[in-house]
Amino acid sequence: MKNKFYNIIIAYFIISLLLALTSHCYIVNNVASEDYSLYYFSLLLFFVLISPIFIIYILNLNNKKNKDSLESLEKTNDELYKSNERYDIVAKATSDTIWDWDIKTGGFIWNKGIQGVFGYKKEEIGTDLQWWFEKIHPEDSLKMSVKLYSFIEQKTEKWQDYYRFMCADGSYRYVFDRGFLVMDENRNVIRMIGAIQDITKQKEEEQRLKLLETVITQTKDSVIITESTDVENEMPKIVFVNPAFTKMTGYKPKEVIGKSALVFMNKFSVRKEIKKLAEALKKKEEFIFEALNKRKNKEEYWANISMIPITNKENHHSHWISIQRDISVEKERETEREHLISELTQNNKDLKQFSYITSHNLRAPLSNLTGLLNLVEDIPIENEELNEIIKGFSKSTAQLNETINDLVNVIIIKDSPSIQKEDIVIRDVFENVFNQLSFLISLKKPIIKMDLHETQVINLNKAYIESILLNLMTNSLRYLEPKRQLKIWISSKKTATETQLTFKDNGIGIDLVRNGDKIFGLYQRFHDYPDSKGLGLYLVKSQVESMGGKINVESQVGVGTTFTITFKNN
C-alpha cells in the first residue's frame, strides 16, 4: 500500500520536474524577456493549483485505504473474539484441560482446567514444558516423552497418550491426552495444542472390574452365567462359565455355552427341589439348593448351587448367575455323621435296654432275698450266732437294695427328658423326709433350723425334690462332726427370676480342692464310711438338672457344707 503511494509521489515529482524543465526551456527560447514574469507566474500558479488537488487526491486515496484496512481489522478482531469465546465454551463444556505449547519459544499456557481438575492455584502453574513433564508420573514420563517427540519429529497430525498426572495435593490422576500440531506454510512446527481428559474414574472402574473378573476367574467355585428366559419350563441357556467350572465339571466353555444348565445336572437329584426351582425361575428370585451333578466323565458330585437373578440398567431381569460349590466331601461327612448318630442312637438304645434288663435281673433275686428275710424275721431264732448271721444278711440285703434302687432311679431320670411338675409345699416335703429319717434323727439329735418364709410353694416334681432333700439330709446326718452338736440350716430365697433352696450343715465337710470337680460324679466317695455308696450326689444333681435347676456346693473341711439349689421361676 505504502509503495503505491511512493510510486505516485515519485511519478508526481518526475512529471513536475519534466514539466518545469520543459517550460523553462520553452520560456528561455521562445518567450520575450519582458514576458518572463508572466509565464513564470502562470507556471507557478499551475503548480500551486495542481499540487493541492494532487495532495487531496492522495489523502483521499490513503483515507479510503485506511478505512478499508480498519474495517477488515475490526472484522478479524471480531472473528477472533468469537473464536476465542467458542474455544472457552468448548473448553468449559468438555471439562478437559487445554494446553498450548509454543514450540518455538518454549512457552506453555494452561486453561482453567488445570485449576479445576488438578487443584493447582494460579500462581503454582508453570509456564514452560518442564513443569508439564515434572507432573507426569515417573513411571509414565519416559514412555510418554519418547512417543511425543517422535510424533513431533514425524509431524503426524494427531497425537494421543495415556499417563498419570500429578495433582496439587501430590496424588495422581489417570489422564487421556490428545493433541495436534500447528505448522506454518513451510510445514515448520510452531505450536502444539492438547486437551487432557481426566479418566481416573473410568480407570478405577476398569481396575475394579478387572479385580472382579479375577475373582470370577480365580475362584474355586464354579460360576455359570445363564440368560434369562421367559419361556415356561425352559432352562436358561449358558452364556459364560469360569475356569473353575471347567475344572469342576470337565466341560470346556465351548461345550456348554448355548446349552441348558441341565446338561450336567442329575435331574433325579433335583426332583425334590424342581418345583421350588421352577417357581424361583419364574419369580426371578434367588434360590439355593443342593444337587447331585455329573462331571463330563460321568462321575457324580454334590454341589451347593445358588442362583442369583441379575438385572440390567433398565432394571429388567437379564441373567442368572449360578455359583456352584463342590460339597461332595461335606456331603460324605454329613452321611458319615448321620450314620454315626444313628449308630450311637442305637447303641444308646441298646445300653438303655441293657440297663433295664440288668436291673430287672438284679432286682428279681434281690427281691426274693428281701422277701425271704422278711419271712425269717417272723420266726424266732434260738441260736444267737445264727441270729447274728441273719442280721448281717438283712443289713447287706438292705444296702444292696438301696444301691440298686438308686441306680434304677438314675436310669429312670436319664431316660425321661421331661418330667411332670406340680406346686409343692416345701414344708410338707421336709416333713416326709424327716419321717423317713426319724430313726437317724432320733439317733443323731440334730438342731434343725428352717426358714422357708420367702418361698413356701415351689413348682417341681414331688418325687424328685423329696429324693434330693432326703439325700442331702441323710448326708448331713451321716457325715456329722462327732465332737460337736450337729446343726442344719434350711432356708429359701426368692428373687424376680429365681428360687433358691439352701441346705447348710456344720459337719465334717468335703475337701473341694481335691474333689471339687468330681463331687457330683458317679461313684465318688469322699469319706471312708462303710455305708457310703457314692451315688447320692450324682443322683441329686441328675434330679436337679432334669427339673431345669442348678446345684452348687461350698464346703470347708472341719467346718461344714452348704448346698445351694437354684430353680428358675416359671
Binding site: Y356, H360, A364, S367, N368, G371, N374, L375, D378, I411
Partner: protein, 136 residues
C-alpha cells in the same frame, strides 16, 4: 380270708414259694394255685372253661398275680391272648395284678391298657402290700 382262690404265675420257684408263704401268713386267700408261665396259665383257664358248665362246685380264681418276664410265654403275651380270645367274658370277676422286677416306666404304662389289670407292683410282695390290696 379275703379271697377264696388266687392264681400265681411266675417262673421262679423261690418267688412262688415266698409268695405262697406271705399269702398264707397274711391269710390272704383260702387257696393258692400256681403256674410257671403264661402258657401254663392259659391251660389252667382252658381246663376251667371245659368244666365250668358241668361242675357246680368249681371255685374260680378271683385274683391273679402275673410276672412279666417268663420263658415259653411271658406276661404280655398271656394278657393279649386272655383279652383277645375273650377269656375275660368267661372269667369276668378275675382281677390281675402285674408283679414284676422291671423298672421300665413303659411297662407300667402298658399294663394300664388292659382292663383286667388293676395294679402294677414291684417285687417282693410283702404283708404290707397285701394289706394295701385289701384296702383297694
Amino acid at each position: 380270708m379275703m379271697y377264696n382262690k388266687i392264681l400265681f404265675v411266675d417262673d421262679d420257684p423261690i418267688t412262688l414259694m415266698l409268695c405262697k408263704k406271705v399269702i398264707e401268713r397274711a391269710e390272704f386267700s383260702k387257696e393258692i394255685v400256681t403256674a410257671n408261665n403264661g402258657e401254663d396259665a392259659i391251660k389252667y383257664f382252658d381246663n376251667l372253661k371245659s368244666k365250668i358248665n358241668s361242675d357246680d362246685t368249681l371255685t374260680l380264681p378271683e385274683l391273679m398275680f402275673l410276672d412279666l418276664n417268663m420263658p415259653v410265654m411271658g406276661g404280655w403275651e398271656f394278657l393279649d391272648i386272655f383279652s383277645k380270645e375273650n377269656y375275660h367274658m368267661v372269667f369276668p370277676n378275675l382281677k390281675v395284678i402285674v408283679l414284676s422286677s422291671t423298672i421300665d416306666p413303659k411297662d407300667i404304662e402298658k399294663s394300664k391298657s388292659y382292663s383286667m389289670v388293676i395294679d402294677f407292683l414291684s417285687k417282693p410282695i410283702t404283708k404290707e402290700i397285701l394289706k394295701s390290696i385289701i384296702k383297694t
